[in-house]
Symmetry: C2
Amino acid sequence: MAQKYVYWFGPNEADGNAEMRDLLGGKGANLAEMARLGLPVPAGFTITTEYCNRFFKEGGKFDEGLRAEVAAALAKTEASMGAKFGDPDNPLLVSCRSGARRSMPGMMETVLNVGLCSRTIPGLIAQFMKGQAGNPAAKQLAGRFVYDSYRRLIMMYSDVVMEKAEGIEPAEGQGIRQQLERLMDELKERKGYKSDVELTAEDLQWLCEKFKEKVQQVLGRPFPDDPQQQLWGAIAAVFKSWNGKRAVAYRRIEGIPDDWGTACNVQSMVFGNKGESSSTGVGFTRNPATGENTFYGEWLPNAQGEDVVAGIRTPCPLNDASKNEQNKHLPTLEQSMPELYRQLVGVRDTLERHYKDMQDIEFTIEEKKLYILQCRAGKRTGTAALNIAMDMLAEGLIDERTAVRRVDPAQLDELLHPIVDPAQEKNYRPIAEGLPAGPGGACGKIVFTSDDAVRWAREKGERVILVREETSPEDVDGMRAAAGILTSRGGMTCHAALVARGWGKCCIVGAAALEVDPIAKELRVDGKVFREGDVLTLNGTRGRVYQGALPLIEAGENPRFREFMALADKFRRMPVRANADDPPAVKTARSFGAEGIGLFRIEHMFYGAGGEQPLFILRKLILAKTDEERTKVIDELAPHVESDIYATLEVMDGLPVTVRLLDPPLHEFVPNDPTERVELAKGLGITLEELDRRAKALHELNPMMGHRGVRLGISYPYLTEMQIRALLRAAARLKEEGKNPKPELMVPVTCTVKELDFVRPIFDRVKQEVEKEFGLAVDCSYGTMIEIPRAALLADQMAKSAEFFSFGTNDLTQMCYGFSRDDIGGFLPTYMDKRILDFDPFQTIDPEGVGQLMAIAVERGRKVRPELKIGICGEHGGDPATVAFCYKLKFSYVSCSPYRIPLARLAAAHAAIAAGDA
Amino acid sequence: MAQKYVYWFGPNEADGNAEMRDLLGGKGANLAEMARLGLPVPAGFTITTEYCNRFFKEGGKFDEGLRAEVAAALAKTEASMGAKFGDPDNPLLVSCRSGARRSMPGMMETVLNVGLCSRTIPGLIAQFMKGQAGNPAAKQLAGRFVYDSYRRLIMMYSDVVMEKAEGIEPAEGQGIRQQLERLMDELKERKGYKSDVELTAEDLQWLCEKFKEKVQQVLGRPFPDDPQQQLWGAIAAVFKSWNGKRAVAYRRIEGIPDDWGTACNVQSMVFGNKGESSSTGVGFTRNPATGENTFYGEWLPNAQGEDVVAGIRTPCPLNDASKNEQNKHLPTLEQSMPELYRQLVGVRDTLERHYKDMQDIEFTIEEKKLYILQCRAGKRTGTAALNIAMDMLAEGLIDERTAVRRVDPAQLDELLHPIVDPAQEKNYRPIAEGLPAGPGGACGKIVFTSDDAVRWAREKGERVILVREETSPEDVDGMRAAAGILTSRGGMTCHAALVARGWGKCCIVGAAALEVDPIAKELRVDGKVFREGDVLTLNGTRGRVYQGALPLIEAGENPRFREFMALADKFRRMPVRANADDPPAVKTARSFGAEGIGLFRIEHMFYGAGGEQPLFILRKLILAKTDEERTKVIDELAPHVESDIYATLEVMDGLPVTVRLLDPPLHEFVPNDPTERVELAKGLGITLEELDRRAKALHELNPMMGHRGVRLGISYPYLTEMQIRALLRAAARLKEEGKNPKPELMVPVTCTVKELDFVRPIFDRVKQEVEKEFGLAVDCSYGTMIEIPRAALLADQMAKSAEFFSFGTNDLTQMCYGFSRDDIGGFLPTYMDKRILDFDPFQTIDPEGVGQLMAIAVERGRKVRPELKIGICGEHGGDPATVAFCYKLKFSYVSCSPYRIPLARLAAAHAAIAAGDA
């Protein structure tokens, strides 16, 4: 039997059903399902996604088998609707719409009114005038309706089928659609009309002729006057729109595979624009912004669906619950058509009961008859998602697992940070894009120095955005004072990003298009100049910078948040830790449910949070030249490191805390400021010239692969020893005080087990010494980062020395791809645009390459040491897809920045449920 | 049966033989073999290397089994020598010497005269005076000999056994040996003696008492007066010296595993210092410097072996053939002891016939009786190795395979470059070390600018060393004029290294200890200041910088070189290509036997060899801002690129030439010189300020992982297209002229097959266009570098698009280890010193990590495309061990810089022979 590519649907009957999303797309599957449910769906049929792929494989041609299937389905549709496609007397019109597995709203094409042509126009007019032949007003009305439909068809078809689907890329403003619009505008101007509705039937008829002439002239081909030709052209254009630029870009962002394809839904047209007894609208079965259990939507009398979307007329509220400031004066459907509203409410109830989820419904009322054109799970805000899930659970509609899965982890961000209102944001174009270094939204006046940020914010009470080329520890006060941070340089691990993330502060780094001039206090971009005090808005979750003030949605205190998270935790099987380095961040982490610290960076205390003194000592250390100088300075540093670790262990009492030895290339901490250099030279007792010389000698061409991590610890074993002693003494002191510290020592940037074997005896000896000093045992496990490909490949050797692994996926991704995260701005956007990369591997683990290294390391490591504890502490630890990946690899835990902990907890719960483990 | 740990040897009989090197060490195996050959070997025994490992495992203790075996072997030795160890009347003395599988000359310890003590001294004196009792002169002679032996024993034993083996590390100059030497010097001064031989028996006896007091005082233990205690102490010290600092360092350099262990040879002492009828010496069965087939060596009358080595007395030549400027006035052994010389020549003949290789022999003549103490394969220069191999082949002593294997590939370097005389070099301490970027030696006056180099060299005819912080294309003329190049910055792939290697010029880069001040024209290092005109010597093969002029050995024209290489090629199974980018280098490569170009770097033309114009155009390209500007400049650049490729294809006609698309981060080419910046701004028609801004925007934090390679080609497809067109047009033009070009296009820095799939359509289209333009077919294969770990891990995907792989092992090593080759100077020396790394992975492939990635890539790539051509074009391609590794992985070819081609050819021949393939 030949493969079936066409699925019919109509009143109470359908070949498909809701389970067949992959084959029929979401829209097609739901149309079939609604038909089966007995809902008033205009008849039609769906050409499958499989055929879409076949269509591309065959070079964009249709085969005879499909043509026969379509003919049969069309005949059945004609029978159901009592009209005939292309029939001069009683013509059936159809729409052709795309419909993929997952909704891609507005990304693909639609052609309406297919079947209108010189042969069918008179019949359709006659049909509209049924029983009113000879009535000139009725004739005018019918003529206006039909020719308006026809001009819409010509506009849409010439644009979608004849231009876009053919790959024609007209110059800016020269698209066929725009040219036709100009013709219409000219006519209106000539006639002195102010709106489209003033156009008479004759005007529109004349315009349709002009349109067709223009099409011939611009595109070199006539507008097709044959319904069959129109139909097949429209189907082909729908399929081709799967590979249109917008659709491809959207798939890239949303991670939708290219080979899913779209289905094409051919459905009988019904008309919401057949006069005052007709209308069209959209509804959500619950409020998509708040989740409130009230029917919510908009409608437009005497209109076709596209009018609602197009935003030319302000849509009316469906009911009182749907009223807002813009539309509260307009009539509701409930008032205007109470019976039909009641029917619609019935549909709403049926659909929610059936789908057990909030649905987004499109409907049309044609001469008082209600048709449902589409239903799908409705998009919703994070707040709404959470409330709907918890409500439906309470209502018994869904079970706990389903409730947990109803909230996308990424949506939780909104519940934790103020965000730029997404409904408004889409109307604005960013002036620049950068890396999303700190989540949420921020809006404020720009300042260019840390001091200004402090003065404006604290003294003037202004909300400010601190704009810098890049930040350094001296900027910390200003960063703290600012509502948001914006830099033109740096990557996801630069100073600004690290600090902002720890605080959960909105931050965009590496917005390379910006030219920051701190002297002139100017920000230049793309010919525009912004000066101190000008307002910018940052979307730190997306990395977008906007001119002016965009509205922010403030993070509300959601009382159900904790309830929901507790529910998620019920199904979670993998602990979540935090990357946090100071007591406030650690407290935040704990309040968000962190079950330990997966990454405590000793260097963090030098980023300014620990005050100036430790940084000054560190700088002396870095610029010391002899071992003698160095040893002396290290001794000075020790008490600071110890008290810093002590403070975190204290807050995380009873939970594991992984302390990482100094990691970054030290020259990062060398001051650039001349005054500070002078002071530092004095502190070291050397000349400024000598200091400059030493600083210069520290310069590295590729510091990311330079003298850092354990390499420092091997060059200066005494530095390693000091850190280990600080950690163990801090733990011993807490134990002495009756606390239960659980420290873990982590060695970074290892590439051979010999590095671990070098540090281990120091660890063992210092542990003995500290235990002797305090007269008590200190438990502390010994492990390593796996962040260098070689360490992953030789994980069996590493595991002989290490008791735990923690994947440093930032560096692992850098080395695996050969991408410097700090410099990727130079080519990542191009790589995304040109589809070389489907996603940013610094946001989500690349499962094929980096993930392969991780899988190798897990397998080889556990082979040698079955009880090996394995975690992740790169930024990826808070990415839901990565959490799922780590769960599959049987990680012992994931660790992420404090504000991402709820996301990670929820993602881990999803993963456990998906795997059938919970 | 218990394991045998002690192997006896003596006249005509031995437990071991020459095959047992692994167990008995080289010395022990050869002593056994010589004994079996009937050569006059003093009896003794060897304690095996296995026991050495056991000794360490047992914590440095001997077990009873061994003690029993030693007692038995000692008894047999006593019987053979007719003397008894520890016997007061007829005492036997023994030596204890180390002996590993492979010779580690001077790296481990020896104790002579073991068995001398208060109990045996009188007997030994009496024995010396046999028949002359009462003769005071004889008594004086005997006393001097015995007490001199005793003081030597005390010095050696206290140093080796009582101090070093105990891990005592005295302060500089405070070693026990030095303290004893001072006692002896004081005595000589007090007595007014000028040389040791003036010391009387009484002086020496007194001195021995003082020595023993000093030992007690300094080391807190008495000098042992019991022969057995001395013997076991000496054996333990020999074993322990395997883990002495020098031995460990040597093993690291030579790649000798730690677990081989050393054997300990206990052998009867014979005395070359028993008066004028005694002597000692060393001989080589052929001349170790030239390979000439003449007996060659040195001897000293009335001396012990250590005197020859110590260099206190100038040794005499063995025969006329051994005479040189220093010793030609001294008596030869041939003249002085003709009969013994004849015996020695007999031994020489026996040993060469038996071992079929040039031997290094140690002998002692005790009262006119010849003893052979040791023989081993003699160290030789490259020239000697080659001549001896070819001579022995001609003599029928060895077969062709053996002849080929007798020359170490690394030794060929000497035949191609002048080198620093190794015999002299060992007496000097380098003032700095850097990376060995260009091989051979150079000596000259230092200059600090390219112009000075040209002026001094060309106009004054001076040999100069160009000293720079780092070089840039502007320095090329000076680099060409200089005999050697020295920089304080940069890695093995920096500008200086790349250029020097192509020319085969001596070059050291990244000598970080140097502070180069081009303004003051000074070089500062370690408190010393060198000024323009001061003389330095560079060993570019080792990366060592010396003060003053060290003697160089000029590369001789060796007529047998080609003959030998042809012989090697007979067994070679893997082609060798060259990394070369301009006609002179390509010609050199071809003359060295290159069978194609494995790496032609388009960027090389911008390093200055192609003149100033292309560089200027490239700079304009780099600093262009819009696609329009860029396209225009690319068109300007095209003819230069085409003619450059044309020239190389022409020289390599008929052989494959792999052309790599632009690889380095472009900002490398941005000029720093203010004048050039002004000129460039003018060329671009922009202000200097704008130019500076653009240059700054190009800055990358980690350029090695930045916007380079195919990433540039994807950002600027037109740049890719231009290069492809230049390549294909160059090939088409040559074809038109009747030539046979074999171009291959190589895409660098790929991390996903999508990059290859992006470039491929450009390649296909341009190929069609060029073929149409010229009306002929151009064959050109399409391939990729494998230099990013991800590309190796996903080689199956890469091979779907690529027709060949070429491993870029420099970058692959960088990413696999996370080591920036340019910055590794900051920690590599420490890593080598502390044994974290056993070798420099940028010199030799790391088989465990980088090699694992290569093996994965080969396997996965060939699985998808069995005919996949696989090569290597990193610097490793010329490293013998790497060549062997690549051969094992069934590489299609290796490629290296022109001057390393002979090394690679020979290494490939060795690999094929070792694998049994040839």
